[in-house]
């Protein structure tokens, strides 16, 4: 803080030249301070306003769709005469289903990777290996879509077929039809895409495990795995939960992978190996919005608002868990 010099009774005078040594008047840079502080606080407040604007504009355009009558909605071609709620429901179901499957695949894998980087890999390699996983996050989503179509699809096809023929008695696995354009493969691509953020968050928490806890456990004769069970995992539990929720937030809003890989349908069921059953909110918007106009656009914006609120809540909850943990752990 640049402190203003308060006036004193006696003027400080240089012993040699006899002139005043301390400059009087307002502190230097007062205008600059004011302008700069105003600019930076303004930017901070603008961010809050911006987020409000996002919600506001979406809501403004969504209201006509929410209040529209049945007849008006029937005029919208892609809705096939359904009400807004029965239009959104299958989309919301598809979004949540694909994200949950992606989480089920990604979270155990991420815990393994995070453990490998934090506790198993040679110390010198660890940072480089972490960077390798982070690189996955830098790959554009459209490239993941291409990868899903031309690498993953031919390789998981036989696996899906095997599952369907041998475990078809379990309803979700029944009725596989190649090529694999079902929600299972879309979820696999999603899982790969959310892997980096989940791994990065979990890794940070694991690295914060108090060294003394680990050493105490090892000193009592625990094996490395027992040490992890006793010291690392209990310490990192809330970190794992919030990382999973961050990943969920990402998966819910991811568009391109689902848009490119999945053959869409508007049904609510658990047949994860059948094509043409599900669709996600985000992919549906990307599919329809460029051609939509008028009330059709409003309907899509309403589904977008739903997605915004959903991811907002999930992300907020994840941050809340992280912050609460930070207060208690004292590991900062």
């Amino acid at each position: 803080m640049a402190r203003e010099l308060t006036d004193t009774k006696e003027k400080p005078v240089s012993a040699v030249t006899g002139t005043e040594t301390i400059r009087r008047g307002p502190a230097p840079g007062r205008v600059g301070n004011f302008v700069f502080k105003g600019l930076s606080s303004g930017a901070g407040i603008l961010i809050v306003v911006l987020l409000g604007l996002v919600a506001g504009f979406l809501l403004y355009r969504a209201i006509p769709a929410i209040t529209a009558t049945r007849d008006q909605l029937e005029a919208v071609g892609f809705m096939r005469g359904e009400s807004l709620l029965s239009y959104v429901l299958p989309l919301a179901f598809g979004t949540v289903l694909s994200s949950v499957i992606a989480l089920v695949v990604a979270v155990p894998l991420s815990i393994g990777i995070a453990l490998f980087i934090s506790h198993y890999a040679p110390r010198r390699l660890a940072q480089g290996l972490g960077y390798l996983i982070d690189l996955l996050a830098a790959i554009p989503s459209v490239v993941f879509g291409l990868w899903g179509l031309s690498f993953l699809q031919p390789r998981v096809g036989p696996l899906f077929e095997w599952l369907s023929t041998n475990m078809g008695w379990f309803p979700p696995f029944s009725g596989y039809l190649g090529p694999a354009k079902n929600i299972a493969i879309a979820s696999l691509v999603l899982a790969v895409m959310i892997l980096p953020i989940i791994t990065a968050t979990i890794r940070e928490v694991f690295l914060q495990t108090p060294r003394l806890h680990e050493e105490a456990s090892l000193a009592l004769g625990a094996t490395r795995w027992e040490m992890i069970r006793q010291a690392v995992l209990p310490f990192g539990r809330s970190g794992i939960i919030s990382a999973a929720m961050l990943g969920l937030g990402r998966a819910l809003g991811e568009t391109m992978a689902v848009l490119m890989v999945l053959a869409p349908g508007f049904l609510v069921n658990f047949y994860i190996l059948r094509p043409g059953q599900h669709q996600s909110v985000a992919a549906n918007i990307a599919n329809q919005f460029p051609e939509a106009s008028g009330l059709g656009a409003d309907v899509l914006i309403a589904t977008g608002l739903f997605l915004f609120v959903l991811t907002f809540v999930v992300n907020l909850a994840a941050r809340w868990i992280i912050n609460r943990r930070a207060e208690f752990s004292g590991a900062n």
């Binding site: 402190r3 230097p28 930017a43 809050v48 987020l51 355009r61 830098a138 460029p290 997605l307 941050r319």
Partner: protein, 351 residues
């Protein structure tokens, strides 16, 4: 001394497997995997490694259980699974790079980078991505021009000015939450904004830039804030003691110290949004020619170009792969330069 001290019995030690055993078991498992896949059908890498991995997990656990006991067997099993998880995660990365380079390098040429899609139709193999590269650079540049100052100033506010209180907490939380906004929602917001302000017929690159700026700002805030926090307080205090006003201290001492880290963070943020597809798909659209005016008319961007070319099929698929390779090269270049900047220019001996 009257009592005769009994020498202590040797502590019971667990018998451990010699170091070479896991490797020997691994080699044996892979050989067995090859044999199994030979018996069931043709030999593929996936088959050999897949069967081999399963055999290894079982074999090493059983061996360890017999020689070392249950606890060490569990430990070995965990080590195997954790390592396998990491190995599994490298498959997408490696296969993706091999795939894109393998498919894209054929079509990627100087002509591809310098040609647009005017007059290209059907199964013509000419045409390129020049207009898409220009569009991507212009739109990302415009988004950065908004997001970087906004993000940096917010970070300065959070680290230098904000006092603990509801406003600071709200901004911190909202920035965190904003990093999780789905990109399609950002695109919808930009589209809605311009629909209301400029009418439904208005199409321009700036709409996409607004969407990208919204996605980029929180990332910039996060990384800049982290870097500014690393600047030691002593530097600030030294500047104040010399009578330097606060704003000049921030500008000339704090920012100058953190500039390498900030540059790195900003470049990674750019790399993050340059590959965004969905918001540009629904706002900016696609055209065949070069459009240099971000304020008017549709523009093509590289990700959307890749998506559209792939969707067309036929001869366009090759162009899609070449476009994808170009995109990955740009992203990787940004990442690489960012790492180099932070390595070369960060203050020496600060950590």
């Amino acid at each position: 001394m009257s009592a005769v001290t009994v020498p202590p019995k040797p502590v019971r030690r667990t018998r451990r497997l010699p170091r070479y055993v896991p490797w020997a078991v691994l080699a044996g498992s892979l050989a067995l995997g090859a044999l199994v896949s030979l018996l069931t059908g043709e030999v593929t890498v996936t088959g050999v490694v897949g069967f081999g991995a399963i055999v290894y997990v079982v074999a090493i656990t059983v061996t360890s259980h017999v020689v070392e006991g249950a606890r060490w067997a569990k430990d070995r099993l965990a080590t195997t699974l954790v390592t396998a998880a990491f190995a599994l995660a490298t498959i997408p990365l490696i296969s993706l790079v091999v795939l894109v380079v393998g498919n894209g390098v054929e079509r990627l040429s100087w002509a591809f980078l310098n040609d647009d899609m005017v007059g290209i139709y059907g199964s013509m193999v000419e045409g390129g991505a020049f207009h898409a590269i220009i569009g991507t650079l212009l739109i990302t540049g415009l988004a950065s021009a908004v997001a970087i100052p906004l993000g940096l100033l917010t970070a300065i506010y959070l680290t230098e000015y904000a006092t603990p209180g509801p406003l600071k907490r709200a901004i911190t939380v909202l920035v965190d939450v904003m990093t999780g906004i789905p990109s399609i929602v950002a695109g919808l917001f930009a589209a809605t904004l311009f629909m209301i302000v400029a009418g439904p017929q208005y199409k321009a690159g700036v709409i996409g830039a607004v969407a990208l700026a919204l996605l980029m700002t929180p990332v910039v805030v996060r990384s800049c804030e982290e870097m500014l926090r690393l600047v030691p307080n002593e530097l600030r205090e030294a500047a104040y003691a010399l009578g330097v006003p606060k704003w000049l201290t921030v500008l000339k001492v704090v920012l100058r110290t953190a500039i390498a880290g900030i540059t790195t963070g900003v470049m990674i943020a750019i790399a993050r949004v340059i590959g965004e597809t969905a918001p540009l798909l629904i706002t900016v659209g696609i055209v065949a020619n070069v459009n240099l005016n971000v304020w008017d008319g549709r523009m093509t961007t590289l990700p959307v170009y890749v998506y559209r070319q792939y969707a067309q099929g036929g001869a366009s698929v090759d162009r899609a792969w070449a476009g994808a390779l170009t995109l990955i090269l740009i992203v990787m270049l940004l990442n690489l330069v960012a790492r180099l900047v932070s390595k070369v220019f960060s203050p020496k001996g600060a950590r």
